[in-house]
Each structure stands twice: as structure tokens, then as C-alpha cells.
């Protein structure tokens, strides 16, 4: 049965879209590494309210590095901040190459198509605005790593339009005129589809959706809700979209969290708070060691299990940001994106962690986490800092991490198995 399943996965991986996507992601990795390191250093160490500056009491000192902080942020915005855009460019090119088609025009066409597509629905015309004016923030998400899947799909589709034209259209004349048609058709399709999205936006579909989700998740508090949010975040991250509880707002204090904090301060005890199972108390404190999907444990499991040099290198480069809960290097490097084998633990491990933590909280073995933590606090320390230095919370965190490693092990083993079949049956393409 497992053998059959593995064969099935290999078959999927042979599909043009996934082959092209994997290669595209490989190309993006060096840029991603630079962007991720920059933002982790900036957030955790050079921001006065960040983790490093707070715990070392060097906030005032760090304030002198404003320029460096800004430069690092700049590097990140132009690398990881535009990753989906680069993906649309490269994926179009790689797809065309794998199909043995003309590759010189398709990349640019893919990229511009993607820009049109993400700008239209938000009504943003980026060329007319300075880069950090607020309306542009609306398209930052889809242009960055959060829009990776969209970028890959758009690049792939544009390459398919080009390919259709090369196969069926009248080929002749100079290249610069020959490709005018498929380029125009790609743009036109982006305009039609983007216009459709704009129309949906105008009649209020998106705002209704997002306010619905937001009001649901901010007003009610319960284990169920936090678990559902975690599952959604896991699945969405796995396909390269951002979920409701993403890294960026890991430490932003929500309304519930501040109510917990006020209660704990008023009663001078952290053990009884009104919302013990809030996002901060459970999800960010116990379920995201190494980022969404508790990937710190996956890294350890890989080092235990794997001989694959590439995976080990990915772990080496991914370790530093993962300690500060940023796992994008692993997401693209292993990859975890679209990797069916890792989907199950990626979504399940955080849920198991939260259930274990909730049980321990209910049994009064560990306290709930009421206090906000500085931006960029390492995962295993969030519970410790957020409980004002409770050692059982720290020990529980380490034990949960060890448990996660054991959950990940069989999946890493199976992933190696699939990789081996892939390599044996299809040569060494990676």
C-alpha cells in the first residue's frame, strides 16, 4: 500500500507544474536566505523593542543602528518581499524550457501578467506611488512569499499560452513581433480575471470574508477556535499562502492576550486567566517552534534520518532563522511547499502540541501564558518569557519539542523513500 502511495506521489511530482515549481524554488533560495537572515537580524536584534535588544537591555544603544535596520529591511523587501513576483518570472521561463520552447520573452511576460493580476483587484497603480505609501501595502502580501503559489501558477499558465501559440499559431517573422500576440493575450486574461476579482471586491465579498473571520477569531476564545485557526494556517502555508495566525503577528498582543495580562496583574497570579487557550497562550507559545508547523523538530528529524546532502545543507542554513521562528528557507529548500508527505505532520504536530499543552494547563502542571513577549523571541522561550519565567513551562516546551521530533521521524523516512524512487526511476534531475 505504502509502495503504491509512494508511486502515486512520484507520478505527481513528474507533472510539469511541480517539476517546474521545484526548479523555480531552487533558484529563489539564495535570495530567500539573504532576505530571511536580514529580517531576522533586524527584527530580533536591531529593533529596540525586539527580543535581543530587550533582554540585553540595549534598546537605546540599538537605536543608533536605525540606518542598518532600515537597510536590512530594504534588502528583505526586495528579496523575500517580491518572491512571488520572481516566481512568476522564473516559473514561466523554466516551464518553457522544460517544454523546449522559446524562453527569452516568456519570463517577463509572466512577471508583468502577475503584477497586473495582483494590482487590479486592489485598485493599486504602483508606478504612480512611492513605494511605501499605504495603498501599496495591499499588494505587498501577494507579491511576497505569501503569494508564492499564485506566482508559480501565473508563470506556468503564461508559459502554456506561449506554448499553445507556438504549436498552433502562425510562426514566422522576427521574434520581437512573433510574441506580441501571446503577450497581449496573457495581459488580457490578467485584466479579465483581475477585473473579476475587483468586481468581487467591490461588491464586498473579500471584506465580508475577512471581517467575518477576524470578528470570529477575536471575539471568541476557545481551544476549538485556536485549533481550527492553526489547521487553516498550516494548510495555507503549505500551499504558499499566509494564514490567520502568521509569524508576523506572532507577538502582536491581541485583545484577548491583553485581557489575560491585565487579569494576571490584577490578581497577582498567572494561573487563572480568563482566556487560557488564546492564540498567544497556546499556538504561539507551544505550537510554532521554528515557525508554522513546528519545523524545528522537523530539522532535528532530518538530521537523524537523512543522508541527503541537500536536505542537510538546507537544515544548516535554515537553523538560525528557525530559532527565531522563521521557516521560509525550509519551506522552499526541502521543500515543504506542495510536498504531500509533509502535509500531515505539518498540520498535525501543532494541533497535538496544543492539545498536550491545553491538557497540562487544565491539570495545572503548567500555567497559561498571559504576558506579551518581545518581537522575535525564539519559539521554545516564548512560553517561558510569557509566563514571567515559569520553569515548568520551559521544561514542557522542551519535552513537546522532543515529542515532535518523534512524530516527524516516520514522515522524514517516507519522504526519503519517495525521493529514492524518484531518483531511481527518473534519473538525477535534482
Amino acid at each position: 500500500m505504502m509502495r503504491k502511495f509512494a508511486d502515486r506521489l512520484v507520478w505527481f511530482r513528474r507533472r510539469l507544474f511541480f517539476r517546474a515549481s521545484r526548479e523555480t524554488m531552487t533558484i529563489l533560495i539564495p535570495f530567500l536566505i539573504i532576505g530571511t537572515f536580514s529580517i531576522v537580524i533586524a527584527n530580533s536584534f536591531l529593533t529596540p523593542s525586539g527580543f535581543g535588544a530587550s533582554i540585553l537591555h540595549i534598546g537605546d544603544f540599538v537605536d543608533n543602528f536605525k540606518v542598518i535596520n532600515r537597510v536590512l529591511n530594504l534588502i528583505t523587501s526586495w528579496t523575500t518581499g517580491l518572491l512571488a513576483l520572481f516566481a512568476s518570472f522564473k516559473n514561466a521561463e523554466v516551464t518553457a524550457r522544460l517544454k523546449h520552447n522559446e524562453t527569452r520573452f516568456v519570463g517577463l511576460a509572466g512577471m508583468i501578467t502577475y503584477i497586473i493580476l495582483v494590482c487590479l483587484p486592489t485598485g493599486v497603480l504602483p508606478l504612480k506611488m512611492p513605494i511605501d505609501s499605504s495603498p501599496l501595502a495591499a499588494i505587498r502580501g501577494p507579491l511576497s512569499i505569501q503569494g508564492l503559489l499564485l506566482g508559480l501558477i501565473v508563470g506556468y499558465l503564461v508559459a502554456q499560452i506561449f506554448s499553445y501559440y507556438e504549436e498552433h499559431g502562425k510562426v514566422g517573422g522576427n521574434v520581437e513581433y512573433k510574441f506580441l500576440w501571446p503577450i497581449s493575450i496573457s495581459f488580457l486574461m490578467a485584466i479579465i480575471f483581475g477585473g473579476f476579482l475587483l468586481w468581487l471586491n467591490n461588491i464586498g465579498v473579500f471584506s465580508a470574508l475577512s471581517t467575518g473571520i477576524r470578528s470570529y477569531s477575536s471575539q471568541k476564545d476557545g481551544l476549538m477556535l485556536t485549533i481550527v485557526g492553526s489547521i487553516m494556517t498550516g494548510i495555507l502555508n503549505w500551499i504558499g499562502l499566509s494564514g490567520p495566525f502568521d509569524y508576523s503577528d506572532a507577538t502582536q498582543s491581541s485583545v484577548l492576550a491583553s485581557q489575560n495580562a491585565i487579569y494576571a496583574l490584577q490578581h497577582n497570579s498567572i494561573w487563572k486567566v480568563p482566556y487560557p487557550f488564546s492564540q498567544l497562550a497556546l499556538y504561539h507559545s507551544y505550537a510554532t517552534y521554528g515557525g508554522v508547523g513546528a519545523t524545528l523538530a522537523l530539522m532535528i528529524a532530518i538530521v537523524i534520518m537523512t543522508r541527503n546532502k541537500k536536505d542537510l545543507l538546507t537544515v544548516r542554513w535554515g537553523l538560525f532563522p528557525a530559532l527565531f521562528n522563521s521557516n521560509s528557507i525550509l519551506m522552499l529548500g526541502l521543500p515543504i511547499f506542495f510536498n504531500v508527505v509533509y502535509l500531515v505532520p505539518f498540520v498535525l504536530v501543532p494541533v497535538i502540541n496544543m492539545l498536550v499543552a491545553a491538557a497540562l494547563i487544565t491539570m495545572h502542571i503548567i500555567p497559561p501564558v498571559p504576558f506579551p513577549v518581545p518581537n522575535g523571541t525564539p519559539g521554545p522561550l516564548i512560553a517561558f518569557v510569557g509566563t514571567s519565567g515559569n520553569f515548568s513551562a520551559l521544561i514542557a516546551g522542551v519535552l513537546i519539542l522532543a515529542m515532535d521530533v518523534f512524530i516527524y521521524l516516520p514522515f522524514v523516512k517516507f519522504n526519503n523513500h519517495v525521493n529514492n524512487i524518484y531518483r531511481l526511476t527518473h534519473g538525477k534531475e535534482e
Partner: protein, 288 residues
């Protein structure tokens, strides 16, 4: 489960890196977490709610001495008086003393640079912000009330629009006394640069702030120094922005611009509107 560890060395290295970095970071994290909780708890449990006063141009931190004397007359609870002088270098000198059990002390912040003019007001607002940081570090209050006489009200407005959000503090009330929001312009049709900026940035004023603007009049148009219309221009900033904005005019004796802080009517207004209710109950001065 039969696990064959494939990379013993790498595994040991990885685990030691993770454990070591967590252990090394845990120590300062622990200290910080304890400190932070202590700080938060001081903030939340603090019952102190000072009244912070800013004098007008050319005046010093001693400007409100007689006002405080009059406020404390006939009252059982005396407000203690703390005075700060902020030097251009950023140095802050304290004089006077806060009574430990006083929950509503009066703090006066004066500046070495006490000159008139928009550019000076901007500088003074920034210095006031620094002084507030210093005060909060020392006394951990989480809310305060503000009174500004003359240019002091302008400094407050500049501070509220540009610096208040940097502080972890709630500003509950503001009373400006004879503050020339449009400098010496008699007509609000000619808006000074300062007034235009105040109006432009009014969205940054917290909506729950309660604002009183008091004008003094000697004749029908001015308190002898500041045109009444310039004081009235405050409504373009605060009205429709904050929940409660009240304008009042004081006439009669001591309604001249410089006398306003000693004016008994204004002292009554301060007692009625700025001083906290809990303190007022024990305050027989108003029951006469």
C-alpha cells in the same frame, strides 16, 4: 521503532546548538521577563494620576506656585508639588517633592528655552515628551491630566499630536488657559502655519480626551494680550475630534492674560473639572 541515526556528528552538533542557544538566551530572558512583569504590574496597579502643568513663554517652572497654594487652601489632602526644569542639553533638574501617598500630585515642567514662536513650541513639545518618559520611569503612573497656560497649551497640543502615542500612558484631560491657538491673529481666516498644522494632524488626538479651553477677557475681544478669537480657534482642532470639548470665558478681576493662573474662577474650574472625584470628596473647599 528502529531508528538508525545517520549523522551522529551532525545530530550532536545540531542539538547542542539548539540547546545551547536556548540555555544561553534563557538566562537574560528570565531576568527580562521578571523585570517586565514587575514593570507591568507597577503600571497597572499604580493609582497615581498626576496633574502635569506647562507654563507659557517667558515663565519658569515656578509659574504655578500661587495656583497650587490656592488649590491646597482649605483642603484636607494637599497636592504635593514637583517641579522640573528641562535644559536644552536634555538635562532635567527636579525640585520639590512628591509625597509618597499623594495619588494626585502636581508636576510642573518648565524649559530653559521658554521663548515664543512655533519653532520653539516644537522644540518644547519634544523636550516635554522626554520629560514625561523620565517621569514615567520614576513614578510609573499610567494616566495623567494636563494643564497648559498660554503657550503651554500650544506645547500640549503639539505634544498630543506628535508624541503622545509614543508613551504607554493615557492622557485623560487637558485644560488650556488663554492659549493663543492662532498666535496674535485676530481673525481665524488668517491661519498661522501652526494652527494649520494643528488642524491637519487633529486625527492623531485620542478621541477619549476631555478638553477645556478657557479664555480670559478684559474687554470684549482680548485678555489684554491674546485675542479672544485666537483662543477660540482651538475649536477647529478639538471640536468634533474629542468626545468632550468645552469652551469657557472668564471675566472680571484677574482676567488679564498673566493673571489667569491665579484667577479664583479658574481655580474653581480646575477643582471641578480636572481634579479626580475621589479627591474632591475629601475636599471641603467646594462645599462652602
Amino acid at each position: 521503532m528502529g531508528i538508525r541515526i545517520r549523522n551522529k556528528k551532525s545530530l550532536i552538533r545540531l542539538i547542542s546548538i539548539i540547546v545551547l542557544s536556548i540555555a544561553v538566551l534563557a538566562v537574560p530572558s528570565y531576568v527580562w521577563a521578571k523585570d517586565n512583569t514587575k514593570y507591568l504590574s507597577k503600571m497597572y496597579t499604580s493609582k497615581m494620576s498626576p496633574i502635569i502643568m506647562i507654563p507659557g513663554s517667558s515663565a519658569t517652572e515656578n509659574r504655578f506656585d500661587s495656583l497650587v497654594d490656592k488649590l491646597n487652601k482649605n483642603t484636607r489632602t494637599k497636592h504635593s508639588l514637583l517641579k522640573l526644569k528641562v535644559y536644552n542639553s536634555g538635562k532635567i533638574v527636579y525640585s520639590g517633592q512628591l509625597n509618597n501617598r499623594d495619588t494626585e500630585p502636581i508636576i510642573v515642567v518648565g524649559f530653559e528655552n521658554n521663548h515664543d514662536g512655533y519653532s520653539n513650541i516644537k522644540l518644547q513639545a519634544k523636550m516635554f515628551s522626554q520629560a514625561l518618559t523620565d517621569l514615567q520611569d520614576k513614578y510609573r503612573f499610567n494616566n495623567f491630566k494636563g494643564i497648559g497656560h498660554s503657550n503651554g497649551g500650544l506645547i500640549y497640543t503639539e505634544f498630543i499630536e506628535n508624541y503622545l502615542s509614543d508613551h504607554d500612558v493615557k492622557m485623560k484631560k487637558l485644560m488650556t488657559i488663554g492659549s493663543p491657538y492662532n498666535f496674535s491673529e485676530r481673525s481665524t481666516r488668517n491661519k498661522t502655519e501652526m494652527l494649520a498644522n494643528f488642524i491637519k494632524n487633529k486625527d492623531k488626538i485620542p478621541q477619549n480626551l476631555i478638553v477645556f479651553s478657557i479664555a480670559g477677557t478684559q474687554n470684549y475681544t482680548s485678555d489684554g494680550l491674546v485675542p479672544e478669537n485666537s483662543v477660540r480657534a482651538g475649536k477647529y482642532i478639538y471640536q468634533h475630534r474629542v468626545d468632550h470639548f468645552t469652551e469657557m470665558t472668564v471675566t472680571g478681576d484677574d482676567a488679564q492674560h498673566s493673571d489667569l493662573p491665579q484667577n479664583q474662577e479658574i481655580i474653581n474650574l480646575i477643582q471641578d473639572n480636572i481634579i479626580d472625584k475621589t479627591n474632591k470628596k475629601m475636599n471641603p473647599a467646594r462645599m462652602q
